[in-house]
């Protein structure tokens, strides 16, 4: 598992296209959000508060970069077969499940690296501008607890999904899923947005990190007039932990299905 993790990380993180696509998307993000990105304030105040600013930075980063993350992961598992390496790997005494987990963790970590560079880079710039290093701690907490669980689920989905369909089709569907299930307002149509099943969720900042924005509003909890409000409990520490657990459990379930699928198809 460790071997697969290390080498998959190395191979993925060195792909120039990974950095180029992330760079272009980040540029589009900055152009779209403009002053909000510069001030780390989405019109709700808090741009000068380290915790609120780092949560806002995460919110902005999580709009488009997860699409890049998912799309760049989409060919990782199927390429072993496409390149013809699978036969050599399968003939080694390394377990297939261990290798799958190693590949998953390695490629996800590598694909999240530019993501992390963008997020922490923004945190560093904020600290330099505001002179409040506490933001680095909040950004680390927010990344580990509020972003990584979602990326673990998205990573599993993106690694396993192309086993069932061509990677290109998966990428299109993934982008659609991301917009429908994470970005649109809960009142627009039945959606997983803002539920405990959304990979982009505010349960950790509002529930676990006790964030209170200056405008007093929260994006968590039931939305008036929205369907599926049963899946939108009010943010508490236990709900935040539930969200983290759900993301990890979903990732494990998807990977188990992927392993089962490869076991069935290879025989």
């Amino acid at each position: 598992m460790i071997a697969a993790l290390c080498y998959e990380f190395r191979m993925q993180v060195r792909r120039p296209v990974l950095w180029v696509v992330y760079g272009l998307t980040l540029a589009a993000l900055i152009a779209t959000f403009g002053e909000s990105y510069t001030m780390l304030d989405l019109g709700r105040g808090g741009g000068h508060d380290p915790k609120a600013a780092m949560v806002t930075s995460a919110t902005i980063t999580m709009t488009l970069l997860p699409i890049v993350y998912g799309c760049m992961l989409a060919d990782r598992l199927v390429r072993d077969r496409r390149l013809g390496v699978a036969a050599i790997l399968d003939a080694t005494p390394s377990g297939r499940t261990g290798r799958l987990i190693g590949k998953y963790l390695g490629t996800c970590a590598a694909t999240a690296t530019p993501f992390a560079v963008a997020y922490f880079g923004r945190a560093v710039v904020w600290v330099i501008m505001e002179g409040r290093p506490a933001a680095l701690g909040w950004s680390a907490l927010m990344f580990l607890l509020g972003i990584v669980p979602g990326l673990l689920f998205l990573g599993a989905l993106s690694v396993a999904g192309p086993l069932l369909m061509p990677p290109l089709l998966f990428r299109v569907l993934f982008a659609g899923y991301w917009v429908w299930g994470n970005l649109i307002p809960a009142t627009m149509m039945p959606t997983l947005s803002h539920t405990v099943f959304a990979a982009d969720s505010d349960y950790v900042p509002y529930g676990l990190l006790r964030l209170r924005m200056p405008d007093g509003m929260s994006t968590t909890g039931p939305w008036p007039g929205a369907s599926l409000n049963l899946l939108r409990p009010v943010a508490t520490p236990s709900v935040a932990l539930l969200w983290i657990g759900l993301m990890v459990a979903l990732a494990a379930a998807v990977l188990s299905l992927a392993r089962l699928h490869t076991a069935l198809t290879e025989s």
Partner: protein
């Protein structure tokens, strides 16, 4: 390391029978496995490499039953496998690729890995290309990388599937020689449809056809199947109507045909010394007539 295969069958989804009740005993040393495309050779190789599970039958390699998880793991620890469609990670260098495979094979000690990879790059004559990315390698060089990865864990069993396909003659001879040298006290199972590769490397051979064993024995015995059945016919007219034409060479005003046939294919046909290829063709010619007979009666 002895391979004992008994009643081995493999049926793919869709009902394609790749192997049908195969019995085969492979001793230590170089062993050739011949058969036309679709004969079941690659399926057999993949089962021996622990990649495919058989539908039924037993396969024992060095005493381990490869159809059980423990047995498969035990065999894979002593196995080197060079697949027919060898793939590599194009952006890794040869050294890095070998390092990755070595780790997967359980060579955890970095100094041991480095030393072993260095030795093998020397063996396959790729030392000076070791730090080049694999995407720049020729087909022959990639095959040699494939041989190197197969040898990383110093395997007692080497399973080599169509290793010379697509190589130029020089690379083919180089790879063949290398495999022969490696045989020694190992078992090297060489699967190919190129008869000459077996003729030049192996003493023993088995022939598969449509998932069944149709011959097992010494190379000389397979060659002998064409005894008194190989003919040279020189003619300026049409080619001989009976028998299977092995070759046709321009000869003066006419053409000299080499024909495998039970009877002289022309009145002026001259008997010729059989080769392994003639023996293989004679066997294949007989198969339609011998369907339903046991392999012993064929061999």
């Amino acid at each position: 390391m002895r391979i004992q295969i008994s009643g081995l069958s493999k049926t793919y989804k869709g009902g394609v029978h790749a192997l049908a009740g195969l019995d085969l005993d492979v001793p230590t040393g170089m062993y050739g496995l011949l058969g036309s495309n679709g004969a079941g050779k690659t399926t057999l190789m993949r089962i021996l490499a622990g990649i495919l599970k058989p539908t039924s039958g037993t396969v024992r390699v060095g005493g381990h039953d490869i159809t059980t998880p423990d047995g498969r793991l035990a065999v894979q620890r002593t196995l080197g496998y060079l697949p027919q469609d060898l793939g590599v990670y194009p952006d890794l260098t040869a050294r890095r690729f070998l390092d990755y495979i070595a780790l997967l094979k359980g060579l955890d000690s970095r100094p041991t890995r480095r030393r072993r990879i260095g030795e093998l790059l020397e063996v396959v004559a790729l030392t000076e290309h070791a730090d080049r990315r694999l995407k720049g390698f020729s087909g022959g060089m990639l095959r040699r990388v494939g041989v190197a990865q197969a040898l990383l864990a110093d395997p007692r069993l080497l399973v080599v599937d169509e290793p010379t396909t697509g190589l130029d003659p020089e690379e083919r001879i180089r790879l063949r020689t290398l495999l022969s040298q490696l045989a020694g006290d190992r078992t090297v199972l060489l699967s190919t449809h190129i008869v000459d590769d077996v003729a030049q490397t192996s003493r023993s051979v088995a022939v598969l056809a449509k998932g069944r064993l149709v011959f097992q024995g010494k190379v000389g015995e397979l060659t002998a199947l064409a005894g008194r059945r190989v003919w040279n016919v020189t003619t300026s007219g049409p080619p001989p109507a009976s028998g299977r034409i092995v070759s046709a060479l321009p000869d003066g005003a006419g053409t000299r045909y080499r024909v495998v046939a039970p009877e002289p294919p022309a009145p002026h046909a001259q008997p010729a010394e059989p080769t392994l290829e003639d023996g293989y063709l004679a066997l294949m010619e007989e198969l339609p007539l011998k369907r339903g007979q046991s392999r012993e009666s064929i061999a």
